[in-house]
């Protein structure tokens, strides 16, 4: 086949209009999902069965069912409950945008919770014990000793999750949202030229995820000074000489 370059360019510029919505859906679901994920992870490591069990059940359900099914259930299913239609949430949940964002957030929360739990468990027990032995406990111990180390540990896994989330927003097109993939589907139905349109759509997702990957690499570097080679202690020499 012959690729029609003017059409390719036209598709590309048209698809770019969907980028803000793709990014919005990603950001909204990742941020709210992360808050929920922290709660779920803390419930998982709480050593209290009545907190652990509900979190386990939640994670099992949301990891064990397809995201597409979750989006459909929220978008088509919630409207079947009259109680919900009369609640204050209805102005939100009647809109495809909020349904898709909610499904994406609930889904990423389940995966992220397990990534965070892995990070929390990776903190050496001896270091936690050393902190306890100085009189630290509870939130202070979490904030000062456990979480900073867990965060570094979970970054590689979490960057994976964000990349998956960027791509998962494509499923929002199934509930009428005109993000990148939604616009692509519309263009194809008008032009019958799937190759050019999907090449452009793929390139756009690739570009977004390139930025995500670089951002996480930079973050990982910034947060892991202890893993870099020891700084030359020359900086200390003049001071030492003075003293």
């Amino acid at each position: 086949m012959v690729i029609d370059f003017p059409f390719l360019w036209e598709s590309f510029t048209t698809l770019l209009n969907g980028v803000p919505l793709t990014l919005q859906l990603t950001a909204l679901s990742v941020v709210t999902g992360a808050v929920l994920a922290v709660l779920l992870a803390l419930m998982r490591v709480s050593n209290r069965w009545w907190l652990d069990l509900p979190a386990q059940a939640y994670i099992f359900v949301f990891r064990g069912t397809p995201l597409l099914v979750q989006i459909y259930i929220i978008y088509y299913g919630l409207s079947q409950f009259p109680e919900l239609r009369h609640s204050i949430l209805w102005p939100f949940l009647r809109q495809a945008y909020w349904c898709a964002a909610l499904a994406l957030a609930l889904n990423t929360a389940a995966y992220s919770a397990e990534i965070i739990r892995g990070g929390l468990l990776s903190v050496p027990a001896g270091q936690i014990e050393a902190a306890r032995a100085t009189g630290m406990s509870g939130f202070l111990l979490m904030r000062r000793i456990i979480f900073p180390q867990a965060l570094r540990q979970m970054l590689p896994g979490y960057s994976n999750e964000i990349i998956l989330m960027v791509k998962s927003t494509a499923l929002a097109s199934t509930v009428t949202l005109m993000e990148v993939t939604g616009i692509a589907a519309k263009l194809i139905s008008q032009s019958y030229r799937p190759i050019e349109v999907f090449i452009c759509a793929g390139a756009i997702y690739l570009a977004i995820n390139f930025i995500v990957v670089r951002a996480f690499a930079a973050l990982e570097y910034a947060l892991s000074p202890e893993r870099r080679p020891a700084p030359a202690s020359t900086a200390d020499q003049p001071e030492k000489a003075r003293a």
Partner: protein, 259 residues
């Protein structure tokens, strides 16, 4: 009000500790007075580390009582339930007074050496950050690693890490220091530098309880030696006495085997 000079720094009475069905301490009593340097000896599995860890509630005894400077730690010891301290605020307050040095150093790996030293003084004791830093730098100079203050623990040798950990303990202004096999994870050539720091602390008159395998150190530095075997104290006394004339056969075997 008891005379503070006569109140024991640490008093353990009839401590029992079990893991499941297995009892590792069968009622151990031990008193450390101000300025005592007590070395706790024993082969592995004798319960010596468990005993030390009962002092700051890293292990909660199933029976018996622990007092630090006359203040008894309130414990819930109900049969059939895991023992626990009733008031974590009390435990945290007493833990801040009884600093611990661990076999595997346990420096916080995401913090520099200086940050390791000021962490608990600033966030637990709420000391002024600038003062904490000034004091930490003096302590690092004292243990001979001032030039490492901005390095991370992973960049230090084992001996340097343990000296940093001792400095971290000192930064708490502890009234008792607990050492859990402080030299056991070190290469032989690095043991000396850590023992030297500990000798200096003992010479200052600090109250120290030291679980150790270093016989020479126990003999020369401690004011009292305790030998634990199978969860009971087999031998106890001044080192000059017990090393010369051990009353217990097991302790005689133990010191002849380890020299």
């Amino acid at each position: 009000m008891p005379d503070p000079a006569k109140t024991p720094a640490v008093q353990l009475s009839n401590i029992r500790k079990s893991y499941g069905e297995h009892e590792v301490l069968h009622g151990v009593s031990l008193t450390a007075n101000e300025g005592d340097v007590i070395s706790i000896l024993g082969s592995s599995g004798s319960g010596k580390s468990t005993l030390l860890r009962c002092i700051n509630m890293l292990e909660v005894p199933n029976a018996g009582s622990v007092s630090i400077h006359g203040e008894a730690i309130t414990l819930d010891q109900k049969p059939g339930q895991p023992p626990r301290a009733r008031d974590m605020r009390q435990v945290n307050r007493l833990r801040a007074k009884a600093a611990m040095v661990f076999q595997s150093f346990n420096l916080w790996s995401h913090l520099t050496i200086l940050e390791n030293l000021i962490e608990a003084p600033v966030y637990v004791l709420k000391r002024d950050r600038k003062e904490a830093i000034a004091e930490a730098e003096a302590l690092l100079a004292r243990v001979g690693i001032a030039e490492k203050r901005h390095a991370y623990p992973a960049h230090l040798s084992g001996g340097q890490q343990q000296r940093a950990a001792i400095a971290r303990a000192l930064a708490m202004h502890p009234s008792v220091m607990l050492f859990d096999e402080p030299t056991s994870a070190l290469d032989p050539e690095l043991v000396g530098e850590v023992l030297k720091v500990m000798r200096d602390l003992a010479a200052e008159g600090r109250t120290m309880l030291i679980v150790t395998h270093e016989m020479g150190f126990a003999r020369d530095v401690s004011t009292r030696t305790v030998f634990l075997h199978n969860g009971v104290i087999e031998e106890e006394g001044a080192p000059a006495e017990v090393f010369e004339n051990p009353r217990s056969d097991r302790f005689r075997q133990f010191i002849s085997r380890d020299h």
